[in-house]
């Protein structure tokens, strides 16, 4: 009974209450009921512009990500060529970049004084650096780079499930390669495309770092909320939060509904089609060359960051390449207590949050797995909510609902815990689903008590999934930026906040060294996680 109270206490207090508080609060700006803030929102051109921009940028992001991710998945699935495996592995490289770190790297590469911009200027003899990304195009560029991975992963997984016999049946019935694609393969992939569109759209609506750092005055809702809060205009912040949440959720429901209509059980036991080796000389060169360009493009942000992390702070001004290099940036991170403090903060807060996620997640998945009906659906809904809502929304709801805790050290780790509930539960759920119920029954029939069966049979089987899910939650919290910026206090400032403040002081080297540290930790955690439970099958857990 205690466990049920624990499960629902957390869901109701940490998830449901803040959101209801925000929703209701948006109608009570001065303590009395009023729709004035909503009228004000829609009467303000800049607010309307922010809403339009958010939806517009997210829609274009979906189109761009699809245009990159789907063809890449097809090429890698259908054809065999030199370097295919390398490209296949590197295709997920954007996943390694925490949001803020990736954006900074793009700034160094393609911004006003970016290396690529300056190189192209010299090579092409232009008056000014190019592409000099800023504004909407910069945001879309960053989004396409980091979110095409969703389309790539969903489409690859979908293609794996299309039985070769399905395509051969179409062939023997007279379908040309194009007809086969249009009438069989693409329709079978619709659920994958819908899933990818959903994740991409929602991530794009929630995107905070790209417009904040790179946006150059472009208004989007996620950032406007932060600005309103910063300016003390809480009623406006609440209204914008509700509108951002509702537009995200309505797209979620729309796509889920569409997905439901196009759901078919793929038999899934079939053999996937054989890869065609590329034989013709020209095609070989094109494939290998295109693959090499893609690999370089995908790794540039990581390499750039690695390079920058050795640059002396303040040394790089107008030169093409930074002139002075040093290892001082890294030495300082661990030697100088002032520089080490953000790392220590991030570590202890992520550890506490993840430990709480695991304990609560195990209890919740264990209790929920045999339930059905209303209670189950209600719990599932609340569990998925912190994932479905943009980070800004979750953060501001918590800040406002628990304003009496504002300025305390524990509010930030609590926020990490809430935001990572869906990640951990999904990972644990997947592990639990792989356990045949009869295994537990077998243990009990052999004389084990129920608690003995759980400790000696169920837990060991769930452990790999639990560790993998925990690692994922840990690294997410470690590089977390959106909610951190809303609730951090100086004494618990995490790495991402320190990166931003170093950047603002033009200490590019120090900022990059922090970024490289995060990338390394993420890479290690992902590798360990993959070894523990096999390759990532669920792109949503990313």
């Amino acid at each position: 009974m205690l466990i049920v109270v624990l499960i629902f206490a957390v869901l109701l207090v940490a998830v449901l209450y803040p959101n209801i508080y925000t929703f209701v609060g948006s109608f009570f700006p001065q303590g009395t009921f009023s729709v004035a803030p909503y009228i004000e929102f829609f009467a303000t051109p800049s607010a309307r512009e922010a809403l339009f921009n958010s939806v517009y940028i997210s829609t274009v992001t979906v189109v761009l990500s699809a245009a990159i991710g789907i063809p890449l998945a097809f090429v890698l699935h259908r054809y065999d060529f030199r370097g295919r495996r390398v490209l296949r592995a590197i295709a997920s490289a954007p996943v390694l970049l925490p949001p803020l770190v990736g954006v900074i790297s793009f700034l160094f590469l393609y911004g006003e004084s970016g290396i690529i911009s300056r190189t192209l200027q010299i090579l092409l003899g232009l008056d000014r650096p190019w592409p000099r990304l800023s504004g909407v195009s910069a945001i879309l560029f960053v989004h396409a780079y980091s979110m095409y991975v969703y389309f790539f992963m969903f489409t690859s997984a979908g293609l794996e499930r299309v039985d070769a016999a399905m395509e051969e049946a179409a062939e023997t019935l007279g379908a040309s390669p194009f007809e086969k694609l249009r009438r069989v393969v693409l329709p079978l992939l619709v659920p994958s495309f819908v899933g990818a569109s959903l994740v991409t759209f929602m991530s794009s609506m929630a995107s905070f770092s790209a417009p904040l750092i790179f946006g150059g005055g472009v208004r989007v809702l996620a950032v406007e909320i932060f600005n309103a809060k910063l300016n003390g205009n809480i009623p406006m912040a609440l209204v914008e939060t509700v509108i951002l949440a509702l537009s995200s959720l309505s797209v979620l429901f729309l796509l889920r509904w569409y997905e439901g209509r196009h759901k078919y059980s793929l038999t899934g036991k079939g053999v996937s089609i054989r890869r065609t080796p590329i034989r013709s000389g020209t095609a070989k060169i094109v494939a290998a060359g295109g693959g090499a360009v893609a690999v370089v493009f995908l790794l540039l942000p990581h390499l750039m960051l690695a390079l920058m992390s050795f640059v002396q702070d303040g040394a790089w001004t107008t030169q093409l390449l930074p002139p002075a290099y040093t290892t001082e940036n890294y030495v300082r991170l661990f030697r100088d207590p002032a520089f080490f403090e953000p790392i220590r903060n991030s570590l202890w807060m992520s550890t506490i949050a993840t430990a709480a996620n695991l304990v609560w997640g195990l209890a919740a998945t264990f209790w929920l797995r045999r339930r059905s009906g209303f209670v189950r659906r209600f719990a599932d809904l609340l569990i998925v909510l912190p994932w479905a809502l943009p980070g800004t929304v979750v953060a501001i709801a918590m800040v406002e609902a628990f304003s009496s805790f504002a300025g305390t050290l524990m509010l930030l780790p609590f926020l990490y815990f809430v935001r990572n509930i869906p990640i951990v539960v999904r990972a644990l759920d997947a592990s639990f689903q792989q356990i045949d119920p009869s295994i537990e029954e077998a243990a009990i029939s052999l004389g084990a008590t129920s608690s003995y069966a759980i400790r000696h049979v169920v837990l060991p089987l769930v452990l790999p999934g639990a560790i993998a899910g925990g690692l994922l939650a840990f690294i997410t919290a470690l590089g977390e930026f959106v909610s951190s910026i809303m609730v951090y206090v100086y004494s618990n400032r995490p790495i991402a906040i320190e990166i931003l403040s170093q950047l603002r002081q033009f200490n590019f080297g120090t900022a990059s060294a922090y970024g490289v540290l995060l990338i390394l930790l993420i890479a290690i955690a992902l590798l360990v996680g993959e070894r523990l439970r096999g390759p990532m099958k669920d792109p949503l857990v990313q």
Partner: protein
């Protein structure tokens, strides 16, 4: 009369040879079964006929024309897959209509008529608008058959058509397939590892082993006069005995089917080593002159016990001689 002719067909996958120098003639309206254990090359042969695999060497002729390099989509062949390969995103009607809507350009008005005719052939008219996953295995099989037949193919190819069905359904569906293809006078080739299926459904059987065709003949021919001991053992039970047992030359073997051994008569003596009672049929294992003999007899007056001495006889027509 040769509708389909395979000439010296060979297919290798890397170092392994799946099919070796296979030659075969199928006549119009004939039902041919390719029978063999798994991995014998029978499915590869079927896929080469369909155009889904390109032969390493050899030729495929249809109506006297060489089609070896014609792609699958232009061969006009109806293929029913082992797992049916119905399109899950289309309903029954659209599945059957699929082939009519490819580049064959059947006028849209005729499509409906042709689909309904194909569904009527397999007695599935009432299921036009069903989703594929709502159908049972047997129904899916019939829709796959209707889809293959709707395009009025040159011939019909079936890959292990009954292997995914319950045993109780198999016999029923086997008879249906037979009557449909007979009715349409459709040249049919089906691949199976089930000898009962092959013996009861085919006009002729080609028996394959390790990529080589061991024998082609009518069911009675291959059963009663197997070409070698592999065929004899693969088709039902067989006692393959040294020729000396019957006073034949040492270079020969004798094949005796268990049902051709008569108990309780004749001049030979044996000891009963094992008895298995199956109701109407009783199976024995006898020991005679150091040889083990399987015997299959109808439940007669009495059942012999283990250890009992019994006389037996093998009529001359029950002894088939093969080379060692």
């Amino acid at each position: 009369m040769a509708h389909l002719e395979l000439l010296d067909l060979t297919k290798t996958f890397g170092p392994t040879t799946a099919v070796r120098a296979l030659s075969l003639i199928v006549n119009r309206g004939e039902i041919l079964s390719i029978l063999g254990p798994s991995g014998c090359g029978k499915t590869t042969t079927l896929r080469m006929i369909a155009g889904l695999e390109t032969p390493t060497s050899g030729e495929i002729h249809v109506n006297g024309k060489n089609v070896t390099s014609v792609p699958a989509r232009s061969r006009n062949i109806g293929l029913v897959f082992q797992n049916y390969a119905l399109f899950p995103h289309l309903d029954v009607f659209e599945n059957v209509a699929f082939g009519l809507r490819t580049r064959r350009l059947t006028p849209e008005g005729v499509v409906g008529e042709r689909v309904r005719k194909a569904l009527a052939n397999v007695r599935m008219e009432a299921f036009e608008r069903r989703a594929v996953h709502q159908l049972s295995g047997g129904q899916q099989q019939r829709i796959a058959l209707a889809r293959a037949l709707a395009v009025e193919p040159e011939f019909l190819l079936l890959d292990e058509p009954l292997s995914n069905l319950d045993p109780s359904l198999r016999e029923d569906l086997r008879d249906q397939i037979r009557s449909i293809v007979r009715h349409l006078n459709m040249t049919t080739i089906f691949v199976t590892h089930d000898q009962q299926e092959a013996l009861s459904l085919a006009d002729r059987i080609a028996i394959m082993d390790s990529g080589v065709c061991r024998q082609i003949g009518t069911p009675d021919e291959v059963y009663s006069r197997p070409a070698d001991s592999f065929v004899a053992r693969f088709l039902g039970k067989a006692n393959v005995l040294a020729g000396e047992f019957f006073g034949l030359g040492g270079g020969e073997l004798a094949v005796v089917r268990p049902e051709n051994i008569k108990l309780g008569e004749g001049t030979r003596n044996a000891t009963v080593a094992k008895v298995t009672f199956e109701g109407a049929i009783v199976n024995y294992v006898l020991e005679a002159s150091g040889q083990q003999l399987s015997v299959r007899s109808f439940h007669g007056n009495r059942i012999y016990d283990v250890g009992e001495q019994v006389r037996f006889d093998i009529p001359p027509h029950g002894i088939h001689r093969i080379a060692k």
